[in-house]
Symmetry: C2
Subunit: 301 residues, 2 copies
């Protein structure tokens, strides 16, 4: 954990810029036909996301000795998948949110029909990008198919969508900790974990390092979601860019509501300690991952 | 064109059964957790579809000397993509349809939120299935990545979604023939064409045969959509399983409305003649494709 706050902050800023530029290059301009779909996709894709998943993907590749440029297509594809899930989650039939990151949600600007299609298009484009052979050297291409399989495992009904289904089904109902943890792990942890996995696989990580990164991912993924719940209860609307306490207002269970705020904070710290311990088999090239673990429970939004 | 009506009918029935069984095997049972998503996915996936796209995929593989079992994952994946597009198209924010093939549409039974997620899950599962290395021999796996790229090209904003976007944007507006043909080709032809392409590529077709099948696909794809418009104007509600004349009621342009019924029928016949001519480079193993071309403009629904 040798990265100072300043160095980490600069690292994240630089990496965010690399992801933003790559996404901008991969996606057609707003002037392409039919323009409205590109405007809608770009509205949500460039709405100020932190780019956590692609940054983790690149950092995992580098932590095992690879180069971040090798994993740009998969890193950006995962960000597209994350973005599509936010667009669909915000729809009136789901969470019915009007704002995200301080900006109107996709359907508030483009209407529900286009918002649904923009989500569909981002999900489809993610796999178009991952499967573009000309973006890889011939050796990397051999490892892409299992990576696509892992990403779809994390994003589909076995992962993210399964979590969203239970989130929707349980709204307004009392749920137990086990169900909440199912929702948390599926909605958030799985896509975070597969970001690390994909980056490491493409960088030819051995089994020991893959297992360490899986362990790290699981722990920061859980911590990330619990800390989101804490922020939702405690945070200020201006910082979150959306209404705080909105989970409670929607009848959604949160970790603090089930176990209390103090226990939630303790659990977050334990998870981050576990994540850091998992990285012990990796050298200083994993320092960005160590810094990100720390930030997971120190952020304000 | 040596297949008699009876032989063709039996062929299609047998093939539909093979696809139905494969889809049933590939998808988790309704008892899996969370059950509602599997119920919702299965409701639409087993709602009586003709399985045109997977049957074309298998037939293309066999027309170039391959075996249909080699292409089952990709054939079923394309059917999942087709089904997801129907679920999302039927939503209130899109075409707002209550019935499809005589059954209530997905959102009418499961609600809009689950219907959106079931569509998302089918789309994601399609790529999970295509990328499952254990379903292929090692040689086929090498050709999967370009096939995924081609399928996402046909299904995304360059293809099907692009067509759906323009369909939505143009609703209630007067459009010209060029725009209508853009919508037709994107919404229908592209996924039909890529079904043939994928099957042929996995069966190691040479360039000449791939080009012939591309030509065939483009022609039957256009004919299929024009004939759908004709059925929509002329058909009986009981046969179509949905309200006929519904395109007109929704302010949607149809081919007959723009060029007249007689000219629409003539155009369909021309397209089918072109499709049959394209198959001249293929031997009698392409007879099922010849029969399907003929059926495209002789069906009642």
């Amino acid at each position: 954990m040798s990265m100072s706050d300043g160095v980490l902050k600069n690292y994240l800023k630089t990496r965010k810029k690399i992801v933003d530029d790559a996404l901008d290059e991969y996606l057609p301009p707003e002037t392409d036909y039919p323009a409205v779909i590109f405007k809608s996709m770009r509205h949500s894709l460039f709405a100020g996301g932190k780019r956590l998943r692609p940054i983790l993907c690149m950092a995992a590749a580098e932590a095992v000795g690879g180069h971040h440029s090798t994993v740009m297509p998969i890193a950006c594809a995962i960000e597209m998948i994350h973005t599509y899930s936010l667009i669909h989650d915000d729809l009136p039939a789901m969470d019915d949110d009007d704002f995200r990151r301080g900006k109107p949600t996709n359907h508030r600007i483009f209407g529900e029909g286009i918002a649904i299609l923009a989500g569909d298009a981002l999900l489809t484009e993610a796999f178009h990008l991952i499967s573009d052979a000309k973006l890889y050297d011939s050796e990397a291409a051999e490892r892409i198919m299992p990576v696509i399989h892992a990403v779809t495992d994390a994003a589909g009904f076995r992962g993210m969508i399964g979590g969203q289904v239970m989130d929707l089904v349980c709204e307004g109902h009392t749920i137990d900790l086990e169900t909440l943890e199912y929702i948390h792990s599926r909605k958030t942890e799985r896509l975070i974990s597969v970001s690390l996995h994909a980056g490491a696989v493409l960088a030819r990580a051995d089994e020991e390092k893959l297992a360490a990164l899986a362990d790290y991912g699981k722990n920061i993924g859980y911590a990330f979601q619990i800390f989101d719940d804490i922020l939702d209860v405690e945070g200020e609307s201006s910082v979150m860019g959306k209404d705080t306490g909105s989970d409670e207002a929607k009848g959604k269970a949160t970790y603090p509501a089930l176990v209390g705020l103090a226990a939630s904070r303790t659990r977050c710290r334990e998870l981050i300690d576990n994540a850091l311990a998992a990285l012990d088999v990796l050298d200083e090239r994993a320092d960005p991952l160590r810094g990100i673990a720390r930030l997971t429970i120190e952020r304000k939004a």
